[in-house]
Amino acid sequence: MDQQNIESRVIGVFAEQFSVADSAITATTGPEEIEAWDSLNHMSLVAALEAEFQTSFEVEEIMELEDVGATINLIGRKVRKAA
């Protein structure tokens, strides 16, 4: 799975979870830009990412997912590690 593929799938998950257009999401998009991104919806986001990428996150990793770019980077590391 290449980086571009990961990026587009992560953005797709964010767009679906928070009901926004893919085009509204960039690597720097964070909770300040998405009002619905609170702790409860963060866990929904985590569950959706786990299903999309067939992976699971530790609590420390869940805390790392603080914007779209960090999410892409972490999933990239996990996918490469699993390969």
């Binding site: 964070g30 909770p31 300040e32 009002e35 991104w37 609170d38 702790s39 409860l40 919806n41 963060h42 866990m43 929904s44 569950a47 609590v59 869940i62 805390m63 997912l65 603080e66 914007d67």
Partner: protein
């Protein structure tokens, strides 16, 4: 807000996804947020050093994630799924590694959660603000002791006694008390609230705090009975609890505000005022986690 801003700054640095909601809640309720966070920041920094803000923020963030996970499980299973009471005592109340971050979270949610900040206003205006001169205040299950210390901070004529079963919680409370300088007016001790009995008719309290405690016990009635026994004839109670709000150590499940009020009424107390607020929930969720706070008096 002045010194209290340090808690928000630490949260923004260590858990960005939690910071936006917390910041909005504080901005929408500046007086209530400052009422708690400004003195708490002063006491915490004196007691534990400036690294406490980062530790408190991380404790709060982990706690919030665990609550969110518990709510998802609750939706799936339809009932609270606590561990056994023995496991909770060993793994939560008697374990400082778990209990200390939990204590910081338990106090910060008052300012950071939209469902909790109204409790601060009720506590400040309808409880502390209406107690008689030189009030004697008792807090059952005081935990971190911050509500009692806030009473001493904002009522310079008040004397406060706090009791809790957890030695880890009382240790935090005592350190904050030392930092607050209220040692002569505030005491904290390890004690079982349900066994507390007034020694004489004059040995009663003008104000009793029973905040976010009864959801942690299998049978809340003995705690409410202890409130009734120890309350002065014209006394007031600040009583709060969780409704449809699962957590690792929540064992008593309330579904309705009426159940909470009935618990008070069955023990000879009636509600004088109250607030109940639900936190954000998924539109299709069957449960609406919320927290109720009431001011009680003798019937």
């Amino acid at each position: 807000m002045n010194e209290g801003q340090k808690f928000l700054d630490a949260l923004a640095a260590s858990a960005r996804m939690m910071a936006a909601t917390a910041k909005r809640t504080c901005a929408d309720h500046p007086e209530d947020a400052a009422f708690l966070l400004d003195p708490l920041a002063r006491w915490s920094e004196r007691a534990f050093g400036d690294e406490i803000f980062d530790k408190a923020a991380k404790g709060y963030a982990r706690y919030s994630l665990h609550v969110a996970q518990a709510q998802k499980l609750y939706e799936e299973r339809g009932t609270y799924t606590p561990e056994s009471l023995e496991e909770i005592i060993e793994g939560v109340y008697d374990d400082p590694e778990y209990m200390v971050p939990y204590m910081w979270a338990a106090v910060l949610i008052y300012a950071f959660w939209p469902s909790m900040i109204d409790h601060l206003r009720l506590y400040r205006t309808h409880f502390l603000g209406r107690l008689p001169e030189s009030p004697r205040i008792l807090e059952l299950g005081c935990g971190h002791g911050v509500l009692g210390l806030l009473a001493a901070e904002h009522r310079h004529d008040a004397g406060v006694r706090g009791i809790d079963l957890s030695p880890s919680a009382i240790d935090i409370a005592l350190r904050l008390r030392t930092a607050s300088g209220f040692g002569e007016r505030v005491s904290f001790e390890v004690h079982d609230a349900t066994t507390l009995d007034p020694q004489s008719a004059s040995d009663s309290y003008d104000g009793i705090i029973l905040a976010m405690l009864v959801e942690h016990v299998l049978d809340p009635s003995p705690l409410m009975a202890a409130v009734k026994r120890n309350l002065a004839p014209d006394g007031s109670v600040f009583f709060s609890t969780a409704i449809e709000s699962p957590q690792r150590d929540h064992v008593f499940e309330f579904h309705w505000e009426s159940e909470v009020i009935r618990l008070a009424e069955e023990n000879g107390l009636r509600a004088r005022s109250m607030v109940s607020e639900g936190s954000r929930s998924h539109p299709e969720a069957q449960f609406r986690p919320r927290a109720i706070a009431t001011i009680l008096e003798h019937t």
